[in-house]
């Protein structure tokens, strides 16, 4: 058992010049065989491992990561957390995730810095207002907090927003989810990793999966850059490369992979205490605890696995945010980067069994992955352990693309794609 993190352990270790801290997670050599191999050491994979151990007692598990844990979308997103989704299926899954987030620092004994500072979705025209009203009512009747704000409420909450009537995109109102906010993205990956490791799970970094082994229609293990590892069950949780890895097992998926870009300004003193999102100008913005303005764009329009950012997107993005918050024009862009988001035709994820026995896939979260992390891990662990989906993720099975029972959340992505 790991020693607990607390102010007391911090003081105690300070006395010893911090020489006594133990490793947050080991760097073990892979064993020849595991009960479960999770391909992908991002937030979702690590959470899956943690809940496999915690909720199902399955600890002979390896998380296999090509690079370093949390190095994909987990470490590249804009850290927004919310559960204000339109459809019942999504609202329930994302709110379950948010509820797990609300106790996660304590559960993991790792401060993930959940800051429920509220998420505003702006309405800029009558159509937006109708949609926001529909959404707010639906979310509330699903038992999730959600409210409508008038323009005056919005202005009072975020004085720096341009709420003038003659703005090109006037702000006619907004929805607010107070329980929404931000969390420290790296902390989520590291917290899950440390807690999973404490329960005996092997986290194997710098190990690339190069093949998925099958015996007929049953999975038997994986081939990796560090040799063959056998497994009774294999789970693919490789956001950004879901199709690529699934193809190793001969699976075709309804997924396309697009760049999603984000950027931060230099740090400044606090001016924004909530998350502001606007679909009409394609922008979302918050201020980090370091003081940086953190911004995200809509997804790029072409498939790419390069994680390259572009000039055009920062130009559009800066135009968008200075429309909403004109005083920002004197700030300076400090860093821009891109992640790869796997998107499904209905903008909802796949958390599912596959036609291959013992092979499971979790992907296609599009722009919603970070906020879905704990819930995704929890239901995916259930699906793997029980070999059947939990009620919460049953609607997110692959079959929906055949039956047509899609969960169309294009509007919910806040940025219309």
């Amino acid at each position: 058992m790991k020693s607990k993190y607390s102010i007391f352990s911090l003081v105690r270790n300070a006395m010893g010049y911090h020489q006594g801290w133990e490793q947050a997670w080991r760097s073990p050599e892979p064993k020849p065989e595991y009960d479960v191999i999770i391909i992908g050491g991002g937030g979702h994979g690590l959470a899956t491992a943690y809940y496999l151990a915690k909720e199902h007692g399955i600890t002979n598990v390896a998380v296999i990561e090509k690079g370093w844990i949390g190095g994909g979308n987990t470490g590249r997103n804009t850290t927004i957390i919310r559960s204000n989704y339109l459809w019942d299926e999504s609202a329930r899954l994302y709110d379950m995730s948010l509820k797990l987030y609300e106790g996660l620092s304590q559960d993991l004994n790792f401060n993930i810095m959940l800051s429920q500072r509220g998420v505003l979705n702006l309405a800029h025209n009558l159509h937006d207002l109708r949609e926001i009203s529909r959404r707010v009512n639906a979310i509330r009747l699903n038992g999730i907090d959600s409210e409508m704000l008038s323009t005056a409420d919005v202005q009072a909450m975020v004085p720096i927003l341009d709420c003038s009537k003659n703005a090109r995109y006037p702000i006619l109102g907004a929805s607010l989810q107070k329980r929404g906010g931000v969390a420290r993205h790296d902390g989520v990956a590291w917290g899950y990793a440390r807690a999973a490791d404490a329960r005996g799970i092997d986290i194997i970094q710098k190990c690339e999966v190069t093949g998925i082994m099958r015996d007929g229609d049953t999975v038997t293990g994986v081939e990796t850059s560090r040799g063959t590892i056998k497994a009774k069950k294999v789970a693919i949780v490789t956001a950004g490369h879901t199709s690529h890895v699934a193809a190793m097992a001969g699976l075709r998926l309804p997924i396309e992979s697009f760049p999603l870009q984000a950027m931060v300004s230099e740090p400044i003193k606090p001016i924004l205490d909530c998350v502001v999102m606007s679909g009409a100008v394609h922008a979302y913005i918050s201020q980090s605890d370091r003081g940086e303005m953190v911004m995200g764009a809509g997804i790029d329009h072409f498939i790419s696995y390069t994680q390259k950012s572009t000039l055009a997107v920062v130009e559009q993005q800066m135009a968008a945010v200075t429309k909403l918050i004109p005083i920002l024009s004197r700030l300076r862009l400090m860093r821009q980067w891109a992640g790869i988001v796997d998107t499904c035709p209905d903008a909802s994820p796949i958390v599912s069994k596959t036609p291959v026995e013992g092979l499971y896939v979790n992907g296609g979260w599009g722009t919603g992955g970070f906020k879905g992390t704990p819930g995704s891990g929890w239901v995916f662990a259930h699906t793997i352990a029980q070999d059947r989906p939990h009620a919460l993720n049953a609607p997110f099975a692959l079959e929906r693309f055949t039956t047509g029972a899609l969960i169309d959340e294009h509007g919910a992505a806040a940025v219309a794609h």
Binding site: I303, T306, P345
Partner: protein, 90 residues
Amino acid sequence: MFLINCPWCGERDEEEFAYGGEAHIVRPKDPDALNDEEWADYLFMRKNTKGNYLERWNHAHGCRRWFNMQRNTATHEFGAVYKIGEKPPK
């Protein structure tokens, strides 16, 4: 921003173009002959290749013509540009 070689207009900035996804997905001549799974495959399943990919682009803010192009999705290297109906390069 890419410089894309429209087969009708020549090199133009990417912002003039719209993306059309995977190329050479042909609409079934007789949709009724397909079962739901086959139809779903046509509707939704995509190769999404990491590497050389044949895809459709449309010079939306130019000549409005569609064309096919080979592009490496892992490096952004551009390959052949060819017209709709033409065979992809070997």
